[in-house]
Symmetry: C2
Subunit: 336 residues, 2 copies
Amino acid sequence: MATLSDVALRAGVSISAVSRVLTDAPGARVSPQTRERIKAAAAELNYRPNFAGRALRSSRTNVIALVAPDLTNAFLTELMLGVEEEAARLDYMLLLGRSEDLQPGGEMISRLLREGRVDGMLVQVGDTTRPEQVQELVRADLPIIFVNSIDAGERSGVVLQDEEGAMIATQHLIDLGHTHVGFVGGLPHTYTAKRRLAGFRATMRSAGLEVNRSWLTARGYRPDQGRAALNLIMSRSQPPTALVVANVNAAIGALKEARQLGLGVPEDLSIVSIHDAWTAENTWPPLTAVKMPMRELGRAAVAALYNRLHDVPVAGHVVTDRAPVLMLRESTRALR
Amino acid sequence: MATLSDVALRAGVSISAVSRVLTDAPGARVSPQTRERIKAAAAELNYRPNFAGRALRSSRTNVIALVAPDLTNAFLTELMLGVEEEAARLDYMLLLGRSEDLQPGGEMISRLLREGRVDGMLVQVGDTTRPEQVQELVRADLPIIFVNSIDAGERSGVVLQDEEGAMIATQHLIDLGHTHVGFVGGLPHTYTAKRRLAGFRATMRSAGLEVNRSWLTARGYRPDQGRAALNLIMSRSQPPTALVVANVNAAIGALKEARQLGLGVPEDLSIVSIHDAWTAENTWPPLTAVKMPMRELGRAAVAALYNRLHDVPVAGHVVTDRAPVLMLRESTRALR
DNA sequence: GTGAAAGCGCTAACAT
DNA sequence: ATGTTAGCGCTTTCAC
């Protein structure tokens, strides 16, 4: 690989001149001719700046990481796109990492941040990470932005309008005439689970409907947890006629369990999920879902991290850029 | 962040002594006491080696990248796990990258490899990458291992037993008494598509069955492509009674289209897919699929890359570690 | 058994 | 307008 010194030699100038030209240094006074010669030489040699040299010298990498417990989760697709978009715009490179359990002293944080491989991180914590762990991480004041994971305040997190999303889903069922509505939630200690449940409760309350505790579960977002939840709820002596499921994967599991139990969706039971993904379109029946602005969330996360890294004051951490919207498909219908 | 020199100061030794101890240098003669003092000092200061310093000096990073067009594809889950496993074992760190289109001069390759951010790459090329592009990449002799993407020979790729996988799927349908069997394939220029089709043809031939050309499609692995393929095939005047679908995502789309057309699966049409993923378990009916050893593929890919990076001769590039196996679910049944 | 010193490729402050 | 130089943190050769 060609180095600056190779380029300098070829162009017949000093190394610093080359550096100035190739990095487009702000106040660099370089004659047009030299500039041209340098650029030509760099092109001929196919020069690329060495990452380590640059990082060592400037102690920044222009790399950020997105770390999540399961990157293959379909609802992250849009998030990633948003993150990529904004990162590219700000001239940052994006690296992805998988990590189940984020601890302050954990390997991922140590390797990425403390060894100086990235300038900052976007983190989506998993179900298994306890709130105290996350709080500890926040207190450590590392350049980490938590993505819809925790109430970390403007400085450390960006969040979706989870409550509004749940409200839309719930209201949809109410509008269809359902009065017996259940809620399949995430693990109770997680931030999103709390807020989605809150949205559900609020909507039920303002519609004057009772929330039946035996129609509420809080088992998690995985398909198998959704299945178990549905099984439990529908085995009640008087089961609900409609269900808000707090996550699309859990909803897919719930849908499957309904089939297995011989329950018709939507004839016997309406199901609406929060979050949308390609998988929701391809279930049978196709799943009605509230599409959350994941792409905008991704963009906002990068922007927030950028601001933190550059000490720009932040302007709000709830993504309202695009409102949650109901994707009406075929898993819900009016109460007969 | 503490540096070697900080640790050296605290331990009252030289920088080089610290380096020797902390890197566990092979032939390092250091007294037990010094060793202890250094380790203690490092621990107290919470020392972590600076990535850039180390990389600059040694011109290796001990990082490899896995690059794929869509990391959220569910069938990559196991691959990632295998890659992680083997990478950890060999003391490499894994970074993930998304890239639609891999070109020799493309951004991903330039940034990761030519700027020295990673030592090597694992690449799963997408449908849109043309074979010539890949061949050019192979000729460029970069430290890249293509994962089930191309016939690049032992030196540059690892592949699954695609043909065998297709054979198992096809034979399963034949065993159920089906004689009118169609094949929903991937884009015709891709390596896996060719080999899966070959497996299908071979099995049909040895069963003495005719391959009806109007039951063959080659549209790609996406759900919408699977849908379109099914629609086309089933609109033939005499449609098949069973279908081998070359990819699980396409099969999910096909399944949906079947429902939409009012075709019962498996009553009217049996469907078996190649590849398995959690999404296949959660369709309705649950999808019978041939599980390919993705985890082993991931491990093999890392091992192959490691060998390349260390000039170890390779020992074969077809992953036979674990044979493809039929996951019998409910989307196939005996011909009535 | 331990330390001094060179140098990886780069940027930026300081000459000229 | 261009060049010289120091030094980021690390590994490794060489000297003692």
